[in-house]
Every structure is written in structure tokens, then in C-alpha cells.
Symmetry: C2
Subunit: 719 residues, 2 copies
Amino acid sequence: MAESEALLNKQALMTEKAGLGKLFSPKSVAVVGASREKGKVGHTVLRNLINHGFSGKIYPVNPQAKSILGKKCFPSLLEIPGEVDLAVFAIPAEAVVATFEQCGGKNIPASIIISAGFKESGRKGASLEAKLAQKAAEDNIRVLGPNCLGVIDTSSSVNATFAAGMPPKGNIGFFSQSGALCTAILDWAIGEGIGFSKFVSLGNKLDIDETDMLRAMGEDEHTEVILGYLEGVKDGVRFLEAAGSVTQRKPVIMLKSGGTEAGARAASSHTGSLAGSEKAFAAAFTQSGIIRAVAIEDLFEYARAFSSRRYPKGNRVAIVTNAGGPAIIASDAVERSSLRMASFEKETIESLRTSLPPSANVYNPVDLIGDAKHDRYAAALEAVLKDPNVDGVFVIFTPQAMSGPEEVARAVARCGSNGKPILPVFMGGPAVEGSAEILSKASMPNYRYPEPAISAMEAMVRYETWRARPAPEYKSFSVDKKQVQRLLEEAWASGQTEIGEYTAREIISAYGFKVPGSVIANNVSDAEFIAEKIGFPVVLKIASPDILHKSDFGGVRVGVRSREEVREVFHEMKERVKRLLPDADLWGISVQEMIQGGKEVIIGMVRDPQFGPVVMFGLGGIYVEIMKDVAFRIAPLSIDNAQEMVREIKSFPLLQGARGEKPVHIEAIVEALLRFSQLVTDFPEIYEMDINPLKVFPQGREPVALDARLALKRNEVSQ
Amino acid sequence: MAESEALLNKQALMTEKAGLGKLFSPKSVAVVGASREKGKVGHTVLRNLINHGFSGKIYPVNPQAKSILGKKCFPSLLEIPGEVDLAVFAIPAEAVVATFEQCGGKNIPASIIISAGFKESGRKGASLEAKLAQKAAEDNIRVLGPNCLGVIDTSSSVNATFAAGMPPKGNIGFFSQSGALCTAILDWAIGEGIGFSKFVSLGNKLDIDETDMLRAMGEDEHTEVILGYLEGVKDGVRFLEAAGSVTQRKPVIMLKSGGTEAGARAASSHTGSLAGSEKAFAAAFTQSGIIRAVAIEDLFEYARAFSSRRYPKGNRVAIVTNAGGPAIIASDAVERSSLRMASFEKETIESLRTSLPPSANVYNPVDLIGDAKHDRYAAALEAVLKDPNVDGVFVIFTPQAMSGPEEVARAVARCGSNGKPILPVFMGGPAVEGSAEILSKASMPNYRYPEPAISAMEAMVRYETWRARPAPEYKSFSVDKKQVQRLLEEAWASGQTEIGEYTAREIISAYGFKVPGSVIANNVSDAEFIAEKIGFPVVLKIASPDILHKSDFGGVRVGVRSREEVREVFHEMKERVKRLLPDADLWGISVQEMIQGGKEVIIGMVRDPQFGPVVMFGLGGIYVEIMKDVAFRIAPLSIDNAQEMVREIKSFPLLQGARGEKPVHIEAIVEALLRFSQLVTDFPEIYEMDINPLKVFPQGREPVALDARLALKRNEVSQ
């Protein structure tokens, strides 16, 4: 199966865009397994195609029927007279495999396999799916599914699903790895009148996957907001690349589940124990500008705001309200968020003072008082939207006697042309239903509570910040790649998969990391001599490829201050090895320069099966181990990525020089991260790696890597 | 005004329950300002009283009318023939003051003042309100408002508000400091069919406040869940006491706003800069078992779950679903929460295997597969509810072809009798509306998404944990209170409001804190002699009441190791004072035992104007200053409070002995917190206080307070 999948991936890459056009806008559709029986999937699919305005040809395929729902029936795909752009399969899995080759015979470029009973159902299904994949690849047929709900495209009026309805036309494209989530969301969309451009259930992703969808929707003129639900991605690197480019043009909002994987990885490094697929996804989303929805509700609330296509240029917001309490609640939520309450210009305050009664509050939040009608809302909104310090506005309305919710809604709707986002919060039930409809027609989603509107505004600010950022810059250092290649080959040759300090320091040295001066001494007098040359105090360490956890073994002694002490410790360490690990290969005792002062940081990497090298940064010791105060990004790191990582950790103030200390040289850490990124990108066989600690200092003194370790694994995870 | 308020508070306390019965269940109600004109408040109030089934007498009061809405009108309260239990005022503020005394004349025990134009409108209104308060106190009349929406009581069919409707009968009691929030919530409740017992708008809280409401609803047999919105409390201590007792019987869910107060307090201590009214409220809610809603949505979603009155005995939950995707999303959300996915007993798995098709997943989450009908839901729910490892269940349903949402809802509703909470998540729009209604009738709130259901279940677990906890124990230490009294009086007498180390150490010593041995030396030879007696190394410090920030001044030297060094440092310090602060009162140089080893913690207190002494605990240095990793509770602390504080901080593992260190003696810290609590409770004039650092050690060695400071303020904030 792995081989056929590889083949298929290759084919999919070659014909990247072929076929998806026919999937969304076919001129003719055949339904294999079309049925006369109501409630059967093959019946519902056919009915959905017929009933929602599709203007192309529809061919039911069923050897047992002459015609279904008024359409002439054909015994097989091959007997259909005209061209077929899209074949939809709604027959049992075994039958699909038998019938699918007719697609090749008929030159059908696209297919949807709705049928279940494939990979998701166990080994037998998986083998059926592999056969299907091979055929699809051979005949160059794009496949959606199997085990999916199908496809809806509102602009071409195609509803090739067995769902119970058709959403209104709109600018949201949605794809989902869960068919059930599709049905639930479809039902909501219909209930709330939320418009969609495309609606796709991915199913088992035999061929067409999230990356294909991202690209197709990225290029689709009817789609202005992309929404997705994922449980995993088929090819992380390809997905990231596509996402990074699509998010330049359109917002992409994703809900990703399956994030908790407690102890899934037996970790041999700090980074390994703290990273995980959840962290990799989070980093990937951040780095490619994807807006992450944490809950299903976010997916909706964000989509509603984004679909208005009015994005804030900054995070300064105003609140206009007819009620004090809800405005206080909203202001609190703003303060807790990354948004800030705008300070109005003098002109704004003057203008508000002129148009509002004296008891109104003309500062932010602007309180129009309970008896406010539409005119006050209109005047206040106009003034506030004009203010250059305001990037977005929340309009709060609570039903009051005589306040005319619908007129207020109309007044708010009229202000939409200003370009700044307005998120209305008309609170209540039946009293504000009419308002919600009026607002919705003006592309202003109404929110029932202030908090989700605030989250949505935050998401929009994040997106605008992403879009406005300069193109990422990468830096390539001149390094000794060949030396690392040689060292890793030697390790492989000797069967080593874990590489400890001695080889690891050579590896990182080749990539420009400074390491402490250190020489392995074979006898006491050498050790004394070297220590004297290096200068006291020194560090003594057992040097053995068989002892990786030197500290735990008692194989590290810092602060050795004299020839006598060197002598003493040297003998003690040799004795300890002889006694406890008599078979260990003892290279000698290493005498090392003692690096005093500075702060300890840790730089690490673990290779994620989907996204590749996930780089970690944090402050050494308890900050990493207990506070878990670390930042992740996927390599290769841009300069901005590295800058962000250093600033993202909570303990960043410690590097800036808290408590009167000199600040650490941040740019030196950034450079270390970039060099590290280059190393782990250059060598995919490095599976896990820690530089721990890296000692960093105030400007003028280079960082020094005191220890490093890495683990190797060949090919299995290379992308 | 302050005096009349104090008088009123006193009176309110004396007649705690008097009048509130008449407010909620009057036999007769007069509406002062009843109006014939539609849309006027005085008209709406009268109509609401008449239209919602109130069986008592209704008296419109209006000198200009003969009758309104078919009720005979009276020119004044005094001319009403029978007794009046409740007077509702809907006339301008000035007129209220003039008319209010008729209540006294007529012996009316309760009143609602709907009219605005009082304290909220400025100085003039505040003086009107003060007059009203005085009259109410003199005549012993309970007052709700002014500036409020009024009161609804569904069990006595009283709707004395100008709101647009009446909520269904139910078991939720709601009170709110914001009238607008009332109208919005009322409208929702009506739209979604959520039942209320009482619905109260507090307004300006001239008399009746949140504590009165908490008590009244706590005793009300129709109220099983109490919901509230607060912007502040009138008397924190009284509120806490009431809350602590009510939450033993009924859940109390509160939304508190106005939490952000950046820099409101000019802080002179660490604790002062980290504590604040927001922290005090959070601690108060925790300590009195109030469930805190962070967003308006929580208030609802929690209330819906709690109103079923089926609470989980633990945090182990099961998920039963007909769809994989939403179940994965839900499991993720469970893992992120304080809930845990239950592990089923063998019998449960066997029973599920027997009743479900082979493709179903019989482990948690139980996946019934897309074609599941009500029978599978019933069988699975029955099995799962029986399992002793399951404390609560989420039932997820997504609309699928032929799945019969309403039958499934009925099957779920039938399982309600088991006693364990079931929170249904029927996802979708129109397709599940019927189900939601069926579930609602069986006291099962339907949730549109899994995440809010999970939050609601968490809140219920927290509540059950609170209810099941043993009664709090307090510990009183035998201390030298008189000594502290004497020291504080001396400080007052000399005009000191900030007390530094020398007096502070005497104060904490009197409460059982160990302090380092220390003697003030007046000359060099004394200093040398004392240092030798104490034993080297020692700490030398400038001893002056005028130099509080000794370290910053360069007035502390640790690790002084010899007589020579003592001599040198002594001269240096004296010189420094002479040069820089020639007028300072220099007591001498203190020679102090140097405490080596141990960990530094900080214990502090700042007095909150509403709740009194807020005690803080954290690890010293960067943990407090940069990571802001601290815990708060309001004193007096129970033993459990102190235990929780130590364990609540993120850096707790450091005290437990991370990285191979010996654990610190936690009980010694708990005792220190309790002694500190006793001290700040005994002396309300201590306004702010830090013991920083307190050095703590492994078992066997007592903590030592290295430094302490406190600030005094008299009476202003004493409760």
C-alpha cells in the first residue's frame, strides 16, 4: 500500500490542478448506484443534483432501472452516450473497485466515492482502497473520498451529496475531514442563513486532500474565506507551502482535532518530551498564517466576521452601546484580549458631545443611554468610524422600551460602507431577530454576546498583521557541512544512533557554535598540564561514548581549582567507571574550560512526522522542565521566526536583564537559532537534538554551547 | 451621605429578612405614576402586573386619572383603602422623594423605585438618593433600586417591571446590577424557553443589595440555581458570609465585571502591585464556593446545566456519539479541561459489544456509527450510565439520513432518571430543533457544540467538590498580641506609617516567626565582638528608620567573613550615610546571622476595600516579579486555604524538590501563612505587608523571615 500511495502522491503532484475544476463545475454528472428507493444514498444524491438548479446533464447509472426521478437510466458508465465530467459512486465498496475502471474507459476526469467500507473499516477495506488508488493513478482520475458526504458548489449549483439540503450562496468555502461535522454545519448554515461557496467532505483522502482543497479554494473567485476541519494532514510540508501562499490572499480558518497525545512519544530529549504533534501543528499554523479555531464555535463566529471582508488595520476598538452593564462586560473582555480600547481624538469627542444628550458618555465606551433610538446610533457610529484612532467598532444593543431594534439595525447597516469592521452585538432573543436579519443582509454578522465578537475581531487583527508583515527573510551561514556529513557517516558506520557530547560538539562547531576549550587526558599528568594551560577553575568530565548521561553517573565535576584537585578527581572518575561500568569504552577524562556567568538557554529539535523539524527554545533548567515555558517553530526558521521564539517565552524579561542585570545579547540567540535551524534542515537524519545549555551573555561575548546531544534515524521520517 | 448610608446598613442588617417577602409575594401592589399612555414606564408596569396572572390587589396611583386599564385609580398612596404591601414608583426622581414618605404614613413595608435620575446621574441625583435612603431607614421600608427594571416572581405571578415579557416558570433565580442585561436575558429566556423563579434588577442598591438577594434566593423553595451579574459588592465580608452558606445548598453562578483596573493602586509592596480588586474577587468567589462565569455565555450555559439538578460525583466522563469527528473534537476538549475520559469496566464493554454492531467502537468515546437509531443510543447510554467509573455523559448527535433525531432525543430523555448528569449535544440547526425541545422538557439542556457542554460539566464538578469538602478548619496560635499592639501604637504615636525591618521583625516575632539573630552595634569593636559571637559569615546592614530600601541604598552586605571585613564594612556604611543622608537617624550597623541554603518564598497582604485582607503567596524573586506566579486568598485563612495557596502556584514542584533536591517542609509554610493570616486579621490598621523573603527548608529546620515591611492606615478601610 505504501508504494501505491507514493505513486499516487507523485501523480497528484504532477497534475496538481487537473480534475478539480470538473469536480466543482462539471458539465455532466453520472451517479453510479442511483436508486429509486427514497432514503437510499443513491437516491438522495440524484435528487440533490436534480433539485438544486444544476443545469448540466445528469445520468443515473443502475442496470436494474429504466429511469429514476424522470431521468433516463444507464446500465453502466460506458453506455452513457455523451461525455461525463464527474462520476459519483454510491455502491458498496467491493462494487466500486469493480466499476471504477469504467472511469478510465470513459475518460472521466473526476470522481466522488461516497461509499464507506474502505480504509476506515479495517484491513480488508484498506486493501480495497489501495487497489482503487492504484487504478486512479494509472488512469489519471481525481478522486474525492472514499467514505465522504460529497461536494456542494453553490456557484455551479452542484449538490453531489446525500445531505439534507443546500446552503445559501455565499463566500465561505468549507472542507472537512469529518462527514458528520459537514452535515451538522450544513444544517446550521441553512438554519442561520450563512452562505457558502463550496462545501466539501474529504473522507479518507485517497487522492484529493486538504492541500488540494486549500489551493482550489485559494484560486476560486467565489470563495473569500476558507474554513476547514482537519484531524491530520497528508503532507505537512506541501500543506504549509500552500497555506502560506493562500493566506496572503484569503483568510484560512482551521479547526484541528486529535491534539492530545499524552505520552505518545517515548522521548529521549527535553525537546522530545515537550514537543508533539499538537505543538507542531500550532507552530505550522502560526508560520503559515492560518487562523486557528480552538472550538467548533470559533469556526463559526470567526467565519461570520471574516465573511464581511472588512478587516481592522490595527487593534484599537470602540464600543457604542445603549446599556452600561454589557459595555462594562465588553470592555473587560477587550482588556483581557489583545485588543485595546481606542482613545478618541478631540474632534470625535466634540462631535459626540454635539449630537448626543448631556447624560451620554462621549468617551469610549460611548454610552448612548437606554432611550437611544437609531439617530443616536447613526450619529455616534459616524463620529467614531471617522476617528483615525479607531480600527474597528462593536455596536451593543439591548432591547429597551421604544428603542426600535430594526431601525437601529438599519442605521448600523448603513455605516458599513466606511470600510472599518463593525461587529454588532444585538443582545436578546425574539426582540432582536429582525435586526439580525437586516444586519446579515448588510454583511454584518450579529453576535449574541460581546465575547465571541471580541474573539472574532482579535482573529481579524491577527490576520491583517499576518498579511501586512514583510516577506520572511532567511539567512544562510557559511558552515562546514562536509565535516558534519563525515561525522554522521562515521556514527552510522559504527552503528551509533545516539551521539553524545564529544561528537556533538564537533558537529555544532562546524555550524559555528562556540564550545568550551576541552582536551581529553589519558593520564593524570596530562590532565594537570592541560588544566594549567586552560587556566583554573576547570571542569572535568568522563569521556566515554557509552556514558551519555554523565551528570547522573557522577561524571562531571565543575570548579576544579588546583593541580591537586585535578589529580584527585581524575582518579576518582576512573575508579568509578572501572567499578560501575567495567565494559565501558573509556576515552579518558576531559579537561574543559569553565564558563562562568551568563544565562543558560536551551535550543532543541524533534522531527515531526508531518511537518519535519520542530525547533524549540527556552530558558534552561526549571523554566523548561517545570514551567514548560518554551516556544516552537518549524525549521527552516526565518529571521522573524527566530526573533518571535525568543520573545514568545514568558521568561523573556530575564534575558532582557531583570533585577538590574545587564541584558543578554538577543541577536546572538537569534543567530544561534538560525544556525541550528540550518543544521537540522541540512541533515534530515538528525531526528532529535538538544543544545543544552547554551550559555548566553551580554553583547560583546559570544554564546558558548556547554553540551549537546543528538539522535539519528534514517529515511523513515524524511519528507 | 456616608452617615445616612451607615445608618441604613445597620438598619438593613437588623431587619435582615423583613420586607423581602412582601417584595416577592405581595398581596397588594400600588403603582405610583401609573399611566394611561402606552409606552410609558408607568403604563407598562401596570400592564405587566395585570397581564401575568397576579391574583392580589392592584392600585394605580395617579391624581390625573379615574381608572387605568380597568383598575380604579387613586390620587395618592394614602387614599388607597386597603393595605399595600408593595409600592412601585415610576415618577421622576424629585417626585419620588416627595411622595416616598407616604409609604411610611401607609405602613408599606416594601418598595421598588424604577425611576432613574439618582446617584447614577451625578451630584444632584446622589443627594436625592441620600434623602430617600434616610427616609427609608427612618420608616423601616425595604427599597429595591432606584434606577432599576423591577422584580419578577413567577411563583407569585408578580411582574413589577417595565420589561417586554414574562419568562417561563423555572428554578433559576437571577439578579443583576445592570437593568439592560436583565432585558436582554429576559428576551433570551423567553425565546429559548428557559424557566426562572425570580428575576431581579438591583439598580443603585440604595438598600436591597446582592447579599440580601443571595440570602432571599438561598431560602426560596422555588429557586434551585442562583445566577447573578455584579459590578461590585456593597459589603464584601457580609457577601462572602452569605455566599459561603448559600452555596452549601444551591449553586451560585456569578458574572463579575469591571475587573481590569490597570494601575489603579499606587503600590508600595510586591503584594500591592500584584493584588487588586480583580484578584480579591477571584479569591472571594473561590473561598465561598461561587462558580464564576467569565463570559455572558458561561452564565447561560452553566445555568442550563445546573438547572437539571443532576451533578456529577467526580470528573470522569463518557461520550456517546454517532459521529467520529465531533467525538474527537469533544475528547480533545475533555483532555484540555479538568475532566477525564472514563475507563469502562469490563462488563460495560461486554454489554456494549452485545448491543452494538461490530463496527461500533465500544471504548470511550462510544461510536455508534452514522446509521445509529434511538435503540443504539438507548442501549449504549444504559450501559455507560451503569458503569461506576462514569460520573457524567455527553451524548453527541449529528443529523444523518434516517437517524430520527426526535426518537433519539426521547431515548436520551428516558435515561435521565439514572441520576448522573447527561448533557446532550445535538448538533445542527432546524434538523435538531424538535430534539432540543424534547430534551428541554426532560430537564436536559441541549448544547449546540461540545465545548460549552464540557465547560458546564466542569463547573458542576467544581461545585460538587465544593459541596463535598469538609467544613473549613481554622487554627489559632498562641501569640503575643499585646506586644504588637504596643509596637503599632508607638509607630502611630511617632507618625510612622511605613514600618521597616527593625520594628517589623519584632512584630512578626511576636506572632511566632523566627528571625535571624541580629544586634545593632554602635561602634566597630562591638560589631566585631557580636560578629564573632554570632559566627562568621555574617550580614551587616545599616540600621536606620529613615532608610527602608536598604539594598538599593547599598546598605546590606552579605557574607562578611572576618573581623577585618567587619571593620572595613562598618566604616564604609557609616561613611555612606554621613555623605548621602546626613540627616538620617542612624541607629547603628546591625550584625546579623547569615542564613544559608533554603528557598525563598514571599508572604504578603494588601487590604481590599471590599473584602479586607487579601493574602498572597509565591516563590521569591523572579517567580513573583516576572512570572507573576502567585496565589491569593482572603484572610482569615482556613487550613485548607493555606494548603491550596501553596499548591496552586505553578512553581510548586520547586518546593517539592525538583532536580534531585530535598523537598521543602510544606507544613511549615502552611503554618507561616496561618500565623500571618492571624496577624493581619488581628490588626486591621495593617494596610499592606510583605514578609520577603521567608527562607524555607526541608523538614527539621524552621523557616526564617529575613525581612519584612508593613504600611499602616487607620480606620478608612476597616470593615
